[in-house]
């Protein structure tokens, strides 16, 4: 039995360093190649030595597919392709291809320049890695090779996020990456057609959340910002240049407009224009509303949000500042933080995850005294808020996607084991399909049952369909006969006659003739008629003919009668049939040997 094998190298019962190996129809595919935010050692990247101990991966992988630009999905890519070694194709959508290298460069700078790590990928490696990228368009069917084809679907989540449908022959897998099933402020909802894959690999970040609480989180966020502004405080929002920042900007922009607020909103320099530009140029990837109105009003051209200058930080009065980087470990966001930390009227909102060791991580853990360089300490008096804005499908959304795609098997990744367990139970119960949740390094095999595509001769098919009638009769299935010719790679199903002709074979006729003696005191023709009547009553549903030339035909079996020369009452029946009627012929000869029942007219 053919099977599909799946091994997560990362994101198995965990969130972070997504990297899932899939073997399908003899092809090996790597889905995502991410880093883990929680580790600073080897565990930061997936363990590629699982694939091979001897270095390069090119010959072990047919392709790599990156679902979106978040670092936990693409952060290990240059390491994998340039340092471990992979030269095959890497597929990602256009926006991912555009934004991914920027985030990788950011990541590299933080790790190497700030933390001083060596043995890390270089800027050049990021560039070389991106040269191996083949851009994917939505719904385009990309032929990776003659057998392997992939197709991207819209996933929401972040700009350019995609789900992929992977198909080899009649076997297929869908990998969702991260997705959300409800449109948000700037993105649409994920969608897939009823592609009935053998296996659906889904993220399960919010496996136990039943109602999407995003709207509540947004309300919370706005309320907190508003309160702080009202009491004259300053709000710092450390962000990464791309992704959440734009979403929060749209959120604040519309809120400012609605509430007619006057406090300034700033976005730290260098980033605004560039980052927002990506959103403007890839507007076709945003939600319907933004797309529809972009000519009149581009949502990413912000009226209330202005470029920040470092001198503004000392301005009196309330303000909101978006500054990079997102974990308060360096740069402008840290500088502003230092300035504002002493005032309890101020607030810092952390909209994303923070790595251990960063100031962001420390203050989120409630630390109120920070040691700074030069043995100085910083008292943290301002309010610290954490707010997650990641857009993921909740349990309802995941179930909705299963209903959309109708997979034969499920596999959960990118979530916590306990929550997965809960969802697994729900899925198995509601859809009666197997649901797997392998840990990292654990392999799951899903057996598939592919049907075999064959070319049937149109004559045979048409004949069969004409005989079968317009509607199939479930009680009386018609059996079709044909010959399957297997030549090189082609499979052709033709009628037996055509098979003989096509292969240049002669037909060999096998015939049987059988004489049966019968006591029947009637004339020959009467006997024949009695046989006809007898057979008619025994063989229901057969074609029986009494022909004028003195024969009875049952289907194509010929029966003749003659009198015995010695005794006129002894009749000799001559039965003749071909091998094709063997069953019936054999039956008839046995039947007639028993004689004719009396009482036949």
């Amino acid at each position: 039995m053919p099977e599909i094998k799946v091994t997560p190298l990362g994101a198995g019962q965990d969130v972070g360093r997504s990297c899932i190996l899939v073997s399908i129809g003899g092809k090996n595919i790597m889905l995502d190649c991410g880093m883990h935010m929680g580790y600073n050692d080897d565990r930061r990247f997936p363990d590629f030595s699982y694939i091979t101990q001897n270095g390069r991966l090119t010959e072990f992988l047919d392709c790599v597919i990156i679902s979106h630009f978040h670092l936990d999905h693409c952060g290990a890519l240059p390491f994998m392709s340039e340092m471990v070694g992979y030269d095959g194709p890497i597929y990602m959508t256009h926006p991912t291809k555009a934004i991914c290298p920027i985030l990788l460069e950011d990541f590299r700078k933080i790790t190497v320049d700030k933390k001083g790590e060596t043995n890390f990928f270089t800027s050049q490696m990021i560039k070389d890695c991106m040269k191996k990228v083949v851009p994917l368009n939505l719904h385009q069917t990309v032929q990776v090779d003659d057998e392997l084809e992939i197709k991207a679907y819209y996933a929401g989540h972040v700009l350019g996020a995609a789900m992929v449908h992977i198909k080899v022959g009649s076997e297929s897998v869908v990998y969702t990456g991260d997705y959300n099933m409800t449109p948000d402020r700037h993105l649409g909802a994920a969608w897939i057609d009823k592609c009935r894959p053998d296996l659906l690999i889904s993220e399960s970040t919010y496996a136990t959340t039943i109602r999407d609480s995003k709207r509540c989180r947004e309300r919370d966020f706005l309320k907190k910002v508003h309160e702080s502004i009202e009491r004259g405080g300053k709000v710092l929002i450390p962000v990464f240049a791309l992704g959440r920042a734009q979403e929060l900007c749209i959120l604040l922009e519309t809120f400012w407009e609605r509430m007619n607020l006057k406090a300034p909103i700033y976005f730290s320099t260098g980033l605004t224009e560039k980052a927002n530009h990506y959103y403007k140029l890839f507007i076709t990837w945003t939600n319907q509303k933004i797309r529809k109105t972009f000519v009149q009003r581009n949502m990413f051209e912000f009226k209330h949000i202005k470029a920040f200058d470092r001198s503004y930080a000392d301005n009196p009065g309330p303000m909101v500042v978006f500054a990079t980087p997102g974990m308060l470990h360096a740069g402008q966001s840290l500088q502003i933080f230092k300035k504002w930390a002493g005032n309890e009227k101020n607030m810092v909102i952390m909209p994303g995850y923070c790595v251990q060791g960063t100031i962001g991580h420390k203050i989120l853990n409630g630390q109120r005294k920070l040691e700074m360089e030069g043995r100085s300490t910083l008292d943290v008096k301002l309010q610290v808020e954490y707010m997650s804005f990641s857009a993921h499908a909740d349990a309802k959304g995941i179930m909705q996607l299963i209903r959309m795609a109708e997979p034969r098997n499920m596999l959960l990744v990118h979530g916590e084991a306990v929550k997965m367990e809960f969802l697994k139970g729900k899925i198995e119960q509601e859809f009666s399909i197997d649901c797997h949740m392998p840990a990292n390094g654990e392999t799951v095999a899903v057996t598939t049952n592919p049907s075999v595509p064959v070319d049937i001769s149109l004559n045979l098919l048409k004949r069969e369909m004409a005989l079968g009638g317009p509607l199939p009769d479930p009680k009386k299935p018609r059996t079709m006969h044909g010959t399957l010719i297997m030549k090189e790679n082609s499979l052709k199903l033709v009628s037996s006659e055509q098979a003989l002709k096509e292969l240049g074979l002669n037909e060999h006729q096998l015939r049987f003739t059988c004489r049966v003696q019968l006591q029947d005191p009637h004339s020959d023709s009467d006997t024949l008629h009695r046989i006809y009547t007898h057979l008619k009553s025994v063989l229901k549903g057969y074609t029986i003919q009494h022909l004028p030339d003195g024969t009875v035909m049952v289907e194509s079996i010929v029966i003749k009668v003659s009198s015995c020369a010695e005794d006129a009452n002894t009749k000799v029946l001559l039965l003749s049939w071909s091998y094709q009627d063997e069953d019936l012929g054999s039956f008839l000869s046995t039947l007639l040997k028993k004689g004719l029942p009396s009482g036949l007219c």
């Binding site: 990309v142 595509p453 098919l461 399957l484 297997m486 098979a499 074979l505 002669n506 054999s586 040997k593």
Partner: protein
Amino acid sequence: MKLYCLSGHPTLPCNVLKFKSTTIMLDCGLDTTSVLNFLPLPLVHSPRLSKLPSWVSKDGTINLEKELKECAGRVFVDSQPEFCLPERELLDLSTVDVILVSNYHCMMALPYITEHTGFTGTVYATEPTLQIGRLLMEELVTFMERVPKAQSATCWKNKEIQRMLPGPLKDAVDVWTWKRSYSMQEVNSALSKVQLVGYSQKVELFGAVQVSPLSSGYSLGSSNWIIQSHHEKVSYVSGSSLLTTHPQPMDQSSLKNSDVLILTGLTQMPTANPDGMLGEFCSNLAMTIRAGGNVLVPCYSSGVIYDLLECLYQFIDNANLGTTPFYFISPVANSSLEFSQIFAEWLCHNKQSKVYLPEPPFPHAELIQTNKLKHYSSIHGDFSSEFRQPCVVFTGHPSLRFGDVVHFMELWGKSSLNTIIFTEPDFSYLDALAPYQPLAMKCVYCPIDTRLNFHQVSKLLKEVQPLHVVCPEQYTQPPQSQAHRSDLMLELHPPPMPYRRCSVLNLPFRRRYERVYILPELANSLVPSEIKPGVSLATVSAVLHSKDNKHTLQSVPKAPPAPPSKKRKRVPEEPPVLLGPKPLLSGAVPLEAFLATLQKHGITEVKVEETADGHILHLQAEDTLIQLEEDGTHIVCDNNEPLRTTLRDLVLRFLQRL
């Protein structure tokens, strides 16, 4: 398999393909050349146009004073301009299942078809095609609706009267079917039937046919289409280009192995080189401006204008035109410029890499930012106050019959300082200018048509090797004006099948196979045997299921076992279930080997008699005859069923079953 040809215009095609059980309309082009027979629609009252004399036939019998006006010897209909629609009588258009659109110029008749023929199907187009197509329709509707004309001329269409009119009105065909423009409501309704597709996306139609758009390199989102089943392939090539302009390059290799290739939308200017024309455009423009004149460029609001602006972007500084204002006037000017910047996926590689930076792919963004290019929705409003001369104006419609261009013709036509530069190839410039004669302004004709020329297309066809080519009849002979240029036509072997408006072609297809799927259970039960090296056979007995045009074969269900309580008296009494025939046999039974086998089974007394065609074996002890021949075996055996079946099986050992 049939092709119904509903348009005679080779670059604005409308064909219907009946392929397997589906009815597919290929493009929905609107022939707008009909508007050349009408008087221009001025935006503001034009004393010149209103004073044109009415046309009266020479003998004075026909006087359609209200309908026909004469200008410089030509006769024009004074009415809202009308378009020549695709033929609607050739087949019932409500039976069309889908419409495949190849580019935004070839969908302008869509509302007439989807809204007024009972059409209930789906339209497939790429996103740029839909968005820009919508803009072009919106522009057309605005042009027509903002200057409504009360009267609608119909008398001239009377056959008797039309016959008496001077050309080209006299020769206009099907004038009764000409229609005025549609409304915005009809446009919206028509476009709501569009389903978006991406390049190389495979779309299944009723399980029978798969259609897939391919990049054609001509305009944003322009596509050729592959229509195929597992064994047949039709390629539809429409408006394709091999030049490097802004769109994604043409996908040629996917057109390979077509049974039929339908070829439309070749260049309308086979002798004009687009690059040369672009150079001429720039130099004429610069010359006029330097001399203090204005330049009028009648154009569509999307397409070549992007390339013209890009060319000017590089040209103006070198030519010292930095201070000359460039105006783009159209109800959709802003939208068109904005939309062009957001279709990164559909652009050529160079432009794509700009987006990664991120920079707008087209330099007209910079022209707008630096105030060198200004766009207005019409001549009214801001434009009238901001307008400075000398200037360059891009505006529509290229037919010069409606749109803001009419105003500039009236305004600038009298001065020889000004120049009109024609860049769109769809209309003859002489015909376009006819109602403005006499004209003092200079006319320059630089038609830029990037579509395939005959040289490129013959190279392409050599490459992709379709079995048959279908094309408009215009492509099978040189153009009338250049009858000696045999290089301006398609020469192919076998010759292409030409079509004209209202042709119905039988496409030369021989369908012989269809795809069927053998379910795994059945597949596993098959027993293949090798009959020749590399060729194996297996007999298949199965039940055929056909659903949604997909066929599957499954195992024959086993008959339910008879209820055990009802004991059968004697088994042979039950006739065998009609299971259909046994397989055919092939091969021959060799005498010696057969005799040896008989011996092994204890049949030793065999008398062999040679006959003309083989041998007769007389099994003396059993009183049985076996006639062995090259292509047949006949067993004559009485009253000994066990022996007969043994002999049968022995014979079968030497034969192949099919």
